[in-house]
């Protein structure tokens, strides 16, 4: 006898993510979720991003890793509240982990919440964290065909950031080809190329982030009024 169920496998995560999304809306928080392979430069991007923020700007960071609090220590130097999520082997962050650590951090909006996912292009794409945008990073020391090899995450991301472009003279990486591959998967995806080492391209990235925060705040104001 067949009994229809029609439920999402990750319905529990989706339910918690919806609660987080509601909380972000109520408190006027922009949450973005950074996803990439290990070593593509998520932490370096966050370091330079935090360094560019005015002191006292309402910003908090959650950073996920299987082990160590190295990234939290790197990011705490900039004076903003940072919390390490040690997943102990789990290859992605889920909504429950974000909820728990956000509560422990005691961060309340309005403001900006930067979530650095575990380095992995596969599993993090399945777990909604209630974020307004997923941002996928690809570094120039990887292959231009990564968007084709990992379509799930490129399909779901609003922005692709090409990192380490200061290394372009030393590697055989064709940025146009990488972007063309990403566009095949997701024609509307936006694209920024930058170097967290030299700061090239950072103006564009910070403008993108500010514009999204403004948009989210306007939306929250419209919904809450």
């Amino acid at each position: 006898m067949r009994e229809a169920v029609e439920k999402k496998v990750l319905s529990e995560n989706d339910r918690l993510a919806a609660e987080l999304r509601q909380r972000y809306r109520d408190q006027n928080i922009l949450c973005v979720n950074f996803i990439s392979a290990p070593g593509s430069g998520k932490t370096a991007l966050l370091e330079r991003t935090l360094a560019s923020f005015a002191p006292g700007r309402p910003v908090a960071v959650l950073t996920g890793d299987l082990q160590t609090d190295n990234d939290a220590r790197r990011l705490a130097k900039f004076g903003f509240p940072v919390r390490q999520i040690v997943t102990g082997g789990t290859c992605h962050l889920d909504a429950r982990m974000v909820d728990r650590h956000l509560n422990e951090l005691g961060f309340r909006g309005p403001g900006l919440l930067l979530v650095e996912n575990v380095g992995n292009l596969v599993c993090p794409s399945s777990y909604d964290l209630g974020e307004a945008a997923k941002i996928v990073l690809l570094s120039v020391t990887e292959g231009e065909d990564k968007p084709l090899k990992y379509p799930g995450i490129f399909h779901r991301s609003s922005l692709m950031i090409l990192t380490k472009i200061d290394l372009l003279p030393h590697v055989d990486f064709n940025p146009e080809l990488a972007f063309e591959n990403a566009r095949k998967i997701h024609p509307e995806m936006e694209y920024i190329a930058l170097s967290s080492r030299t700061g090239e391209g950072f103006d564009k990235w910070l403008r993108w982030l500010d514009a999204l925060q403004q948009k989210v705040q306007q939306l929250a104001a419209a919904i809450n009024s």
Partner: protein
């Protein structure tokens, strides 16, 4: 890589749904998996078997229905399966389309043991 977590979520859902059918044994569970879900069928089978071995759910059958990545063209409304990782509309060549399938990661049904008819 996260198939163990997915398999464990499926089993939690089976346990919760089974409570709504007291007295009937669950024989199988049907799941729908889309091409964009990042779930590997073989790895999920393996994880499911590992998690159910030597438990009450030992012989629970996992039935996987695979769903292709589908887009709808915003210019000509053609609906098509995406092949070779290119979302371009095969009919009119437009690049603007919207995703209408492929992200599925759903529990579709439970297979329950037939209950003997109650005697009048």
């Amino acid at each position: 890589m996260h198939e163990v977590g997915i398999a464990s979520s499926i089993l939690e859902c089976v346990a919760a749904e089974a409570q709504r059918h007291p007295g009937s044994r669950v024989l199988g569970v049907g799941v729908r998996i889309g091409a964009l879900s990042n779930v590997d069928k073989d790895a999920l089978d393996f994880a499911f078997e590992a998690l159910t071995r030597e438990t009450d759910l030992e012989n629970l059958k996992l039935e996987i229905e695979w769903r292709p990545w589908r887009q709808r063209c915003l210019s000509c409304s053609e609906e098509y399966d995406v092949e070779n990782m290119d979302v371009t509309c095969p009919k009119c060549g437009a690049s603007h389309s919207t995703c209408i399938g492929g992200a599925e990661l759903d529990i579709a049904y439970l297979e329950l043991e037939e209950q003997p008819c109650a005697k009048p």
